[in-house]
């Protein structure tokens, strides 16, 4: 996998992870182009598109688009599986995750991603193991920051969009 982007329906980038070295300028350009292309697609269209010499695999969960770039020979379906797995992990970790969780705890979202993928390859296919690693690492964190998370999550903004309905 070359990179993974999370962006909202409004085209706002929520998370980016690049597994290939690119300059900031190039990253921005790619992001802009892809967000536009993916958002322009109709909802009933298939999740794959060819873009430059890469294949883009994307999936929409509620208001968030998860978008991965893979190489020509890579397996599209397993990439979809990776995306889904990541969403499941987020869901388990945050407890029915919503976009706001990712916005306010974006570093947590990264930590989870980093436990799941490394250098663009799936490093741990067991959900349980990923969560265990994250939880143990979290235990090492200072307690004070933990308090913040819970505080923030509760007060984030009146309405909670619990729309990540994971129909597995």
């Amino acid at each position: 996998m070359q990179f993974m982007l999370l962006f909202s329906r409004q085209g706002k980038l929520r998370l980016q992870k690049w597994y290939v070295p690119l300059s900031d300028k190039e990253k921005k350009k790619i992001t802009r182009e892809l967000v536009q292309t993916v958002l322009a697609r109709k909802p009933k269209m298939c999740s794959f598109l060819e873009w430059r010499d890469l294949k883009i695999v994307y999936k929409r969960y509620a208001s968030l688009y998860f978008c991965c770039a893979i190489e020509d020979q890579d397996n599209e379906l397993i990439t979809l599986e990776i995306i889904h797995r990541y969403v499941e992990l987020l869901d388990k970790y945050f407890g029915s995750v919503c976009e706001l969780d990712i916005i306010f705890n974006f570093e947590k979202a990264y930590f989870i991603l980093d436990e799941f993928l490394l250098g663009g390859e799936a490093q741990e296919t067991s959900k349980k193991n990923v969560l265990k690693a994250i939880e143990q690492a979290d235990l090492l964190q200072e307690v004070s920051t933990e308090v913040y998370y819970h505080h923030c999550k509760a007060t984030a903004i009146g309405v909670h969009h619990r729309v990540f309905g994971l129909s597995l």
């Binding site: 980016q16 020979q73 436990e115 490093q123 296919t125 690492a137």
Partner: protein
Amino acid sequence: MALKIVKGSIDRMFDKNLQDLVRGIRNHKEDEAKYISTCIDEIKQELKQDNIAVKANAVCKLTYLQMLGYDVSWAAFNIVEVMSSSKFTYKRIGYLAASQCFHEGTDVIMLTTNQIRKDLSSPHQYDTGVALTGLSCFVTPDLARDLANDIMTLMSHTKPYIRKKAVLIMYKVFLKYPESLRPAFPRLKEKLEDPDPGVQSAAVNVICELARRNPKNYLSLAPLFFKLMTSSTNNWVLIKIIKLFGALTPLEPRLGKKLIEPLTNLIHSTSAMSLLYECVNTVIAVLISLSSGMPNHSASIQLCVQKLRILIEDSDQNLKYLGLLAMSKILKTHPKSVQSHKDLILQCLDDKDESIRLRALDLLYGMVSKKNLMEIVKKLMLHVDKAEGTTYRDELLTKIIDICSQSNYQYITNFEWYISILVELTRLEGTRHGHLIASQMLDVAIRVKAIRGFAVAQMATLLDNAHLLTGNTQRNGICEVLYAAAWICGEFSEHLEDPMQTLEAMLRPKVATLPGHIQAVYVQNAAKLFATVLRKHEGETDSHAAQETSQLLIDRLPLFVQSANLEVQERASCILQLVKYIQKLQQKKVEVAEEVTALFAGELNPVAPKAQKKVPVPEGLDLDAWINKPPSESESEDEKPKAVFAKEEPKHSRSRHTEVDEKELARRREARKREQANNPFYIKASPSSQKVYDAPGVEHIPVVQIDLSVPLKVPGMPMSDQYLKLEEERRQKEKAERKKEKKKKREKRGKERKADSGPESEEDIAPAHQVDIVTEEMPENALPSDDDDKDPNDPHKALDIDLDKPLADSEKLPVRTHRPEVLKSPAEDRVNESIPQETKKRSGKEKKEKKKGKEKDRKRSKEEKKKKKHKEVEEELLESHPEEAVQSEETKEAATPPTSTSAEEETAPSSAAAVDTSSAAAPESEPDEPKDAEPEDTKSSKHKKKKQKKEKEEKEKKKKKRHHHHHHHSNAGGEDSVQNGTVEEEEPLPPMSNYFLLAENSYIKMMKEDADQVYDIQGNHQDESKVVVSVIFENKSDSFLKSMEFNVLDSLNSKLQRPEGAGAHDSLTVPFQLPPGISNEAHFVFSVQSIVMPQKLKGTLTFIVKSDESSTHEKLDFKLHFTCTSYLITTPCYL
């Protein structure tokens, strides 16, 4: 200190944390930029504080801002500070920030090396984990070089959590620092069998990624992966392995054969679509690689196609898309099996998802045949009418043209139909592809001579209705077809029924609104038409018509003379003057037609697209040299008009020259005319007929309202559909005729033509016209082309490294700490690389070898005879120094000195054969003690050695057998291909030379045979195991080498076996002497305590160099490497 902490936490209470920042940004939607710039100012303040917590908080906020697109590179150093915090909380944030913000150009990365190294070796696994994760994002070549060894050590960490991360990150390290691949590879390979499934899958991942890029270096791992594939149940791992096999099979078709079965089993059994898809893809890849060699895999193809059909029929758009994608791969090699699913593919054209429709279109391209082309194109034309978006419609248009024009119009049986299709396509509003249609029209009209009459008539109609095409704007791309129409009418004007009318149409004032380059063609071709008209009317008594034509030109051309376009203006004024002159001549009743026609005489032939490139450069001509001084850079290029034509020349594969004799042609023409006359649907292209377009959007044309219950046929305009019917009828008729003929023939010839009675095949469809497609011209002496190359910038290219070569000392990774382990290349597998050149080189040798092998028997009994026949070096040795070399059977076994490394494989089996026969023939003579060589050799070791020898002999005999077959294969190719079919399966690839350099100086070269051939383990693991090392000594000097003594410094684990009574440090005498240029082989036995310990033994060879004048004593040091893997006995693994 305590105060500081308190102060810190108080500070933090007033600082914004990340959540505050996010909330703030959301609350300042109007002036976001301003808000953020104040935040950045705050962050800068926070970064100046000593408190690491504050700094970490600031860095965390920066990471968020970086995602929003703000530049945070100025804080790189602060990020490093946070990374180096001892607290995991901050370290984690620091590494996250680094992985998001750092890239190769970030200079502070240099500062992180030691910090990262410290973190990697941290006792806390999460510190190490975080460092590894971060490193995977920002590793640079420098970091990779400095840390490669540390990471490699981590691959053997006790915790699987670290191991799997270390394994995965190695791939990034390899990419940045390719030199690390060879030293690290053995350990990576070990990880394939790690007890932890996560680590194992990580290793599979990495090796698969490596192998996909440079598959040939990983062929030797095929048996291992095959085992993994059949044993693993983890779909993630399976997918990777199967993908890897997909990359390997093109290099090793025999592997493919073995794969088919397990893959088909998986296809049947798996419920995971991703795995199924991967299997199908790999099966396809296998079948593609086998397609040349193996005749029948129809069952597997059928299975794949069936499974894909299920995917395509699925309601899930994703599966549908992938099904079509995979189907297109099958199509390339097995078009027939896909063609039967035409209905399904055509159905997909109706799908609401455009990407699926496009995939289906791609497939159709490969599915057409002579039989179904018209039908498929008809369907596509319907879709063209229905299509809403211009992009998709344009895509359809180009696909139609692609489909029809592919392989030099191979599938078109009726070019009238094709021209009609092209004309119908011109009705598309707003397409960008006018020039594409135009170039097709030109190409067909030029290259298919038989169609010119028809084409010209159609083009004349187009020109007459030009106003419909030009429509509203000049930007309308479709008016490009007028370019083609005008040119065709002009160039082939002899076919025009009424050139005068066309001429009139071409000189209408409206033409002046067309783009310049089209006007230019109009003007030029008007002149050609003029010439034709003149010639037509020449000889008539009444010259009125001709003069009228001149007058028409003189009246209309001034409009073009005023054109703003230079090209148009120039041509127009030229021609105007010419016509004026002709008019004068006409008034004097001078015959001018002949001369005017001469202006445009000559046939135009198409030129191949590559022709220009193929013109050989004359000797002494430097095309790169400047003729004049190079222009200054500021000079801007003139804006050239877009080259309209000669771009889409169809790809030309082979031309079809069908020769038919004149009688046959005439007969068919007659038949067709009759048919046409009787066919109410056939429309004669007469210029007088009424021309009406039914193109949409042309409301200004007065249309008489007629109430018709019958669909209106527009006369004058070709309707491609009618050709479909016509074609059907024609084919029916032809079929019937053929049947009749066949009957007759059959009556005559009896059973001779039985095979022909099958269903109508491709070839049976005769084209409607006998078409001579003019081939594209190429220059003489065209050079053969070979111009595809790999992208030199591909980072994976650097990883194209031979992994089976043993590791040289210089290759070791820079090590900081002491590491006792020595890495050496693992045992070479039998299924090794195939090196075509080597095989070729060998086949010649093998031929000799074979001969030699047969003759060995005779050689034994009649030593004298063979002298004349064999010139091989070892024989020369035997002959010229019989007293040295032929000491005993024992030494003889060893005394087969190969001449060069590439010859060794060949000599080995022959010597084995020699020994074999000798031991059978004269067993009693065997125990002779060598006279001067190794007299001290102990009985026990000798016995063991012999045993080994025998085993080896057997092995080698086998090998020889295989070589023998191989030889057959390469030399006698076709004759015994049937036999090869079975033999091949058992035959391993020709192994590479197993000898590699041990040590060398100006006198002597020592080569050690590589592991798997030599290190045989005797006895069980509790006892001492014995290992035999074969060493070739080659005399490189001009002097005689003698008294060679071989000694090795024993270790606790490995000891050189010395004769009884000898001391632990005594050296062994090498049992032969070496004349100049000669090489010989000796075996040394080592006893090994433990085979799980790798060893490196230092040794010395001493010898006396004796030349004519003097003799000196010389010494050569060497090192013997025993890796654990080299103790393994490799049994050939046939997949």
